[in-house]
Amino acid sequence: MLSNKPNNEKVLKIFSSIRCLSKDQLPRYMEGRLTDVERHLVEQHLTDCDLCYDALQALEKQDNTDQYHDLTGKLQRYVQNSIQPVSHVHKVAQYTRKEKNKEHMLVYFWIAAFIGLGVGSVYVLRGHMRNQPPIRFMAASVPPVDSARENVATNVPVVTPTPAATHEVAATPVIAAKTETPLKPAVTPVHPDSAAIKKAAALKALQKKHVADSIHKQALLQKQADSLKKEAADKASQKDKDKTEDKKPDPKPETAAAPKEKEKAPDPEPAKRESTAINSDEYLYKAAMVYQQQGNLSEAIDRYRRIESVSSGKYVEMARYQLAICYRSKGQMGKARRMFKEVIRMDGSLKNSAQQALDGM
């Protein structure tokens, strides 16, 4: 058993892997300058390795090994050169080039960013300006400096009469309608005619130009109006009943004063129609609201109608909406519905509430 053991171990040698011959082993083997053990290992490897055996045979056929040594040296140098690590200088150059590239990219980035920002801001500004036409419109409609100054000077008298005037003028048709049958026929010519109003306004404008002190005139006119009011009130009180008296203080003087009011009331409009358009609309609207709150729906409706026909912008929408509400409270559901629908069609700020009202009907 013991004698067998070394033999047993040697069996493994058959299949033990041995490295290829090294540069100095090959010539030494050829020259027989190897130890027994080493030679045996080389021969074991030569049995398996075709490459080494072929190399051995090729070298043995060569007369001198100079070419072999020369070529081997060259090849090894070639391999060494090709795997040589990159020099430090080269590395530094590469690094600086990379950094420069990075900087360039950064500059490009910032340029692109600023251009983008500029284009974006111009776009946003244009969009903003496009979405605010009323401001531009108003700015454009503002008269030159002199007339503007004039406006400021005359603003007080101009503005003050407007509510009263519009009030009165607007009130006239309703009252006419109401008082037509019971009252005298003199009231009938008081019908609010926008063309007539305009004419009167033009006249008034002319007057204004001539008369610098409009406040005095206003006072005078008001006095006249008051006197006429008294007359009209006297006449009306004779025939009118108590319930109509509630509204008399307002509408009666108007009916009487109508001929003069016509000249006076709408007068500021043509002169500064554009600039005061919104103001007059607002007053008309407020007056209509007052009537509506007082329960005088037909008057309110009339004023709203007027706003709807004359003015523009948000007041039309608001007037229509209120009209619809008036109709609804009057029980004229068809008309109310139509009005709500129109408001919805206008697609303004009241669209949602109109829709809700319409749904609730």
């Binding site: 069996v11 058959i14 011959l21 021969e43 030569l46 190399a55 090729a58 060569q62 090894q76 391999v79």
Partner: protein
Amino acid sequence: MQQQLTNLSDKELISRARKQHDREAEGVLMDRYSHLLVAVTMPYLNNQSNLDPNVVFPALLQRLNASLKTQTIYKANEWILHIQKGYLGKPEKNTPFYPSRDGRDLLHIENTVDKAATNIIDRQDLIVRLEQALQRLNADDSALLTQFYLENKSFADLTASTGLSREKLRTQLKAAKGKLAKLFMNQGYAK
């Protein structure tokens, strides 16, 4: 680094060159086999005058480099010889290297032997199985293997005793080893 790399096995160098794109490892591998490559290529250079060593060797290295990244390499020496023969035999065609079944069997047994070196139980088992395989081998081959591997006889001794040439002797030894490997493997499968 170079010193450390020269101590690594072919397998490790190849895996370094592949996984870490380590040019140095690749260079060490090429350097290790450069003298053999030169020796093997020299007969071609001498026989064919149109071959220029300044062209042949760089081209060969390039081919080796390309195939190193893509091919399965069990044994570097076989792979290098295959590429070299392919390049000099059919330069226009790039024949991929694929180890034979026998070669893989041999490699498998070699790996098993390597592993068993540190494990006594495995080693004993392996020895028993190898001896069994050796006994089943025909007498001539068995005797040749025994003389060469177990009795440490050199090529010269064997050629003198058998009257065979060195090349024939080597071929016989190689064939006997192949047969033994096959027997061993079959034994393994039978088990």
